[in-house]
């Protein structure tokens, strides 16, 4: 019996990772983006181990609004704080919160979508009505309102609030996929064999929707960077003592800064654009890899 299994092996289809890898190599833009992302993350997380956040956000009245020069590579802001240091710490903070929110929304959304899609019927109906209600709320408005009322505002509460209004998209996607998937033979077979619903959902349904989850979460990561920086820009995200890409941009709400002190807000804008574009590029390549019809490799 073992010998037979060995003989069949050569015609085994390529593994998921090798498909993804082939797609990435084919798509030069996605490969460059991935390398860029890895380098940026290594740099930002590496350097911020050495940099001291408290030292960077300490006000220095002798060097207010210094243009870029030898002492400060990217100049200083209105508190005489080094913009370059803030950019590094800010990128780290923005990336971290985007990752946290993406993972949290992923967990909630996937669980919600799987349960709703798998059980169907009345449960699905009720769960979808709740989801519809959340979907309708204008995101920016409701998050701003929540941020304003939280008494002990911190990074944790901020990410929880964002998560609370961002899980619907992925839940809806997973639910429609689960609806299709549960009609397939392998699920029916498991049911007949008497597996519990819980076991079927998490050991059989989940692995089969995993490619969709990975793609959606990658694309969500890019979107979350934009949302975080947008909220911080309006003053409802990170506080100033915790620099993020958004807080750097929020200095540009002062017309003087916007007009004359480009070094404060332009680098952060470019950083956000580069991060979002490259994460999207990688996400699109992953998307193609999961769909055999669209693959290039």
């Amino acid at each position: 019996m073992e010998n037979k299994a060995e003989e069949v092996k050569p015609i085994k289809s390529p593994s998921g990772f090798s498909i993804i890898w082939r797609e990435l190599v084919r798509d030069k833009l996605a490969l460059i983006s991935l390398i860029f992302l890895i380098l940026i993350m290594a740099f930002v997380y590496g350097v911020s181990l050495v940099l001291d956040q408290d030292e960077i956000v300490t006000v220095d009245l002798f060097s207010i609004y210094e243009p870029p020069g030898e002492e400060f590579i990217l100049g200083t802001d209105y508190g005489g704080r080094d913009v370059f240091g803030q950019l590094i710490i800010g990128t780290r903070n923005s990336l971290s919160i985007a990752i946290i929110v993406t993972v949290l929304t992923g967990i909630i959304g996937v669980a919600y979508g799987l349960i709703s899609g798998y059980f169907g019927g009345h449960i699905d109906n009720i769960m979808m009505r709740i989801l519809d209600f959340f979907m309708i709320l204008p995101f920016t408005m409701i998050v701003i309102a929540f941020v304003a009322i939280v008494p002990k505002y911190s990074i944790t509460t901020f990410s929880l609030i964002m998560t609370g209004f961002l899980w619907m998209g992925i839940a809806r996607l997973i639910r429609s996929k689960a609806l299709q998937e549960k009609e397939l033979d392998y699920i029916q077979a498991s049911k007949t064999l008497g597996s519990s619903n819980f076991k079927i959902i998490f050991t059989q349904l989940l692995p089969n929707v995993s490619s969709l989850i990975i793609v959606t979460m990658t694309l969500n990561l890019a979107a979350n960077i934009g949302l975080e920086s947008g909220l911080s820009f309006l003053g409802f995200g990170f506080p100033e003592s915790t620099p993020s890409l958004g807080t750097l941009l929020s200095y540009a709400r002062n017309p003087q800064t916007l007009e004359f002190r480009w070094w404060i807000w332009v680098p952060a804008s470019i950083m956000i654009l580069l991060l979002m574009l490259s994460i999207n590029n990688v996400g699109q390549a992953l998307k193609r890899a999961t769909d055999a019809r669209q693959r290039r490799g």
Binding site: D132, T140, I142, I149, S229, S269
Partner: protein, 320 residues
């Protein structure tokens, strides 16, 4: 169709009810009230309590909610404590500005999206198509507020072509032609910034629709009957591809609300989005609840509109 529309409208009622409760509870949870911090410290705290009692702020929340909701239904949104005027009056000025900003944005969005979408769908996989797809790709990845900042920086400050804040030139008399032109002039840059970024979805959708329709049998029939290429595109394909776009019109409202919060704050445009942020920093909760309620109801109505248009366009939805 009527059956569907009525049923769909009935679903809306609990949605609005839930929304109003959510907003009211949020406002109740907010730290402090309009009296804390505004009244001068010499006033006796007991007197403040008396005022609170008089205003009914110590009543249980459901009684307060009923009173508030009763007022809202009669068109009374309460009194703003910071702006010292009825909220209805305050919002009245702002909502007109926001309305025109939204109209201008929508017009520009469709003006950009329809020609680009048609070109890119008709000449798919050509250089033109790649150029347009590239634009939608960048538009998708660019946050609105960064783009708006850059637009303001370039066209408002560096080139000085457009005003950098406000909704109208100060000192121009309302009702005159100059007043109207000044309004349009102030609208143009914010609306264009929002339209250029939010249009990507419509372009992509239109492109995919056209590519899809191109391969249908009735197009083959039209060609076989000898219809000219322009007739095939303008009459047969365009009409069929435009309907789904029309259906998404309602959902645009939610996008416009989200976008206007950024756009109005960046361009200093006195509309609802700016009022929302102001009311939070001033802790003026009557204004905040009113603005959130109007925004929320507007999105719910937008979704309703879209669903009804969709049901007209696509009969399959009605059966569900």
């Amino acid at each position: 169709m009527w059956k569907f529309s009525v049923r769909r409208t009935l679903i809306m009622i609990p949605q609005i009810f839930l929304l109003s409760i959510l907003i009211f509870v949020l406002a109740q949870l907010m730290p402090g009230d309009a009296l804390s911090g505004t009244v001068d410290p010499n006033v006796d705290p007991e007197r403040l309590d008396e005022i609170r009692e008089q205003m009914g702020w110590n009543d249980p929340w459901h009684e307060q909610y009923a009173r508030w909701m009763g007022g809202v239904l009669q068109g009374d949104l309460g009194q703003s404590f910071r702006f010292k005027m009825p909220v209805t009056e305050l919002i009245g000025q702002r909502i007109v500005n926001s309305f025109w900003l939204s109209v201008a944005t929508l017009i520009l969005t469709y003006l950009i999206a329809i020609p680009l979408g048609i070109t890119s769908g008709r000449y798919s996989d050509t250089f033109r198509d790649q150029l347009i797809t590239g634009y939608t790709y960048v538009g998708f990845a660019t946050p609105l507020f960064i783009f708006a900042l850059v637009m303001l920086w370039i066209f408002g400050f560096q080139l000085g072509w457009f005003p950098t804040s406000g909704s109208v030139e100060p000192g121009v008399e309302p009702g005159t032609f100059n007043y109207f032109m000044s309004k349009v002039y102030h609208l143009l840059l914010p609306a264009l910034s929002m339209a250029l970024i939010t249009t990507y979805g419509t372009i992509q959708y239109l492109r995919n629709e056209i590519i899809d329709t191109k391969q249908k049998d009735f197009i083959l029939t039209a060609r076989a009957k000898g219809a000219s290429e322009s007739r095939v595109y303008n009459r047969h394909i365009f009409r069929n591809s435009l309907l789904p776009i029309a259906a998404f019109f309602g959902f645009e409202i939610t996008n416009l609300i989200g976008g206007s919060i950024f756009i109005e704050n960046i361009f200093g445009y006195p509309g609802m989005g700016q009022l929302l942020v102001e009311s939070i920093s001033l802790r003026d909760y009557t204004v905040l609840t009113a603005v959130t309620l109007i925004f929320g109801v507007a999105s719910i109505l937008g979704a309703l509109l879209s669903d009804i248009i969709l049901s007209i366009v696509d009969p399959r939805i009605r059966i569900k």
